[in-house]
Symmetry: C2
């Protein structure tokens, strides 16, 4: 196990009705708020009204950045920064999923930075200070509600980049599983695939981390048990609650601590989303099994066999770990399909391979130190296999 | 899953050499320190000298409370409080295992309280404010380094009581697995049993918590894999590191959140330690299998069978969950014996049953709401079975 520093000061208010704590949490940091949200689903399901009422009763002033894109864009971040500066906003409150939260984090980090917000994605060490972020989660997927990173897209340059800073970790997050009852089947499936991918990225690592990997297996089993249940019965509280809490733990850093290495599938998927704007979780569900098949060999077979046995209960002959490993990969792909996710890029609406070269080149910048080094050529082959 | 609030702001500096961060961490809170430690093993293994050198170089003044008992006593707490008041101590720094840390937490909580420190154990709501606690862990067991509770004994009244307060959670803890290389086989075994008991107490609960239970199983597997390894090879870094980090997670609250109910075996063991001063982990190892056998019936068999399958890989006929459950209990007892722990109270040096009535009466005050309600009579039967 490698040395690490653990620090996760985010408070989580988990469960039905926990929104009542929001005004008290916000006023610890200020009375001037920027609400950040997406396409307006929070207006249809009543969460927006609930929050406005709570803030008004407490005398908290708020301004709004709405219409944040599913893959949040730097243009939205810039708009948010302008509002914060104009109205001396003290607390940024995203209401939504990873998109709203990531956009809010980027806004919070950029307000005190004099240059353009995109600079911070290129070099997070330029971050001067970060406004407090308090999130209200309505979509289970990215784990951003408990994490220190954010992913922002720049459509001018076809860039989708992640950046992280300890102060970008939310001060508090409200996780009410009932807020996810209205998330449709496809988004629930994509969210579940995203959670599973976060866990898988941490699991397959060159560094030893026995305890972390056993926790990872437990979290994967939870996704497998409840992903399809939440789709079959959208208001199944236990299913939504287990997915929601697992989503936070998949990404709050605990699984990576002590075995920290760069990820493999996310860098590839970020290119897909940047170039084709496809749903992040769908892209991950397509790429993950293909990546697994590509990196499975004599040097990785033991880890993949362990994954197959401990996560998917594959109990094939121990004499043939390769067969066990392959069965684990097959079940991974099968589960994503069972959730209703596409299994090829073509199914996800990508009709040409024109950008694959450029995408592979960019992705390869981040995968040199990954579980298995992935060169541009490797990534190109994985994209082609997934097409 | 029940509603909960998660808040674990303790920073963990994990790994070889992390002690170098100590002065920086302390000076965030002050420059006047009370060092709290036990029988002097930290002087023999050099940790004491290292810490003194670091503090002196940084100009941090320190006083010492040494000789803290394995089951720390209220008399030691009172001594520590006196020192803190006399020298205006700003930060309490226990160096040791749960005993030193629990004593330090009680001192930290009692300094600002005008009455006697024992009052706070009877009613923690009397706590006014808590001095910052920064721990250096040298024994893996209680998880106190990341938790908000402490256990203190009062030998005048044969009382051993736990108490908790959010502000008693350490600000930071330094976990260097090499510091546990010199822990002897018996203490390593007892520590491992303590960790496993914390996990088991949270696991067997009336409340649902699928994700928490899968994490718990992963942590138990880690104890099983590395407890005996650490005993066989005391300087096995991976073994010590995995046990150390698992010990923190067994007790930092995460496994209990959403399924919070009172514990069963700890209240019984606290009476054993209070009356007979036996090693806490040994007491838990003796009582746990007997408690399991006692509460196993038609209403609990499914949970015990799940435990047997998921933790101990028992793959008996699914037609007979009772047989599976019993095999899981048998393997639990067998593992504790393999670690070298006693399997009866007699083996642990208890030669009479004179105090069992009084002990059962006290323990029963805390087990009314447990996984299975335990009356005085139930507890008496468990003590007798374990004798």
């Amino acid at each position: 196990m490698e040395n690490f520093i653990y620090s996760i000061p985010t408070d989580i208010y988990f469960g039905k009705g926990q929104i009542r704590h929001l005004p008290k949490i916000i006023t610890e940091y200020g009375k001037r708020v920027l609400l950040v949200y997406g396409g307006g689903s929070i207006k249809r399901n009543g969460i927006y009204d609930t929050i406005c009422d709570l803030l008004k009763k407490e005398g908290i002033a708020f301004w709004e950045l709405s219409g944040v894109e599913p893959n949040p864009r730097i243009t939205s971040v810039r708009k948010g920064v302008d509002i914060c500066r104009q109205y001396d906003v003290e607390v940024v409150v995203p209401v939504g999923g990873g998109s709203a939260i990531d956009c809010a984090k980027a806004v919070a980090a950029a307000v005190s930075y004099e240059g353009d917000a995109w600079d911070l994605l290129i070099d997070p060490s330029r971050i001067v200070s970060v406004l407090p972020v308090v999130t209200v989660l309505t979509l289970t997927a990215t784990g951003s509600e408990m994490g220190r990173s954010a992913v922002i897209s720049n459509m001018d340059t076809n860039d989708k980049k992640g950046f992280a800073h300890p102060d970008m970790r939310p001060k508090a997050s409200i996780l009410d599983p009932t807020y996810t009852f209205t998330v449709n089947a496809y988004q629930t499936a994509a969210g579940t695939a995203d959670i599973m991918s976060h866990i898988i990225e941490a699991y397959f690592s060159k560094e030893e981390g026995y305890m972390q990997d056993r926790m990872a297996e437990g979290l994967l089993k939870t996704c497998i048990a409840y992903g399809s249940k939440a789709i079959a019965q959208p208001d199944d509280y236990e299913a939504r609650a287990n997915l929601m809490w697992t989503g936070s733990w998949a990404m709050n850093n605990v699984l990576k601590l002590g075995k920290n290495i760069p990820w493999s599938v996310h860098p590839m998927e970020h290119q897909l989303s940047a170039y084709y704007d496809i749903t992040h979780g769908a892209g991950l569900a397509i790429l993950t099994p293909h990546w697994m098949e590509y990196v499975l060999d004599e040097t990785t077979v033991d880890k993949f066999a362990e994954y197959a046995r401990n996560v998917w209960d594959v109990s094939l002959s121990v004499q043939d770990p390769m067969q066990t490993a392959k069965e684990g990969i097959r079940r991974t792909a099968e589960y994503f399909q069972k959730l209703g996710l596409p299994s090829t890029l073509r199914e996800a609406g990508i009709t040409d391979t024109d950008c694959f070269e450029a995408m592979a080149k960019k992705a390869a910048l981040e995968t040199k130190q990954a579980y298995r080094t992935l060169t541009k050529e490797d990534i190109l082959r994985i994209f082609q296999a997934a097409f």
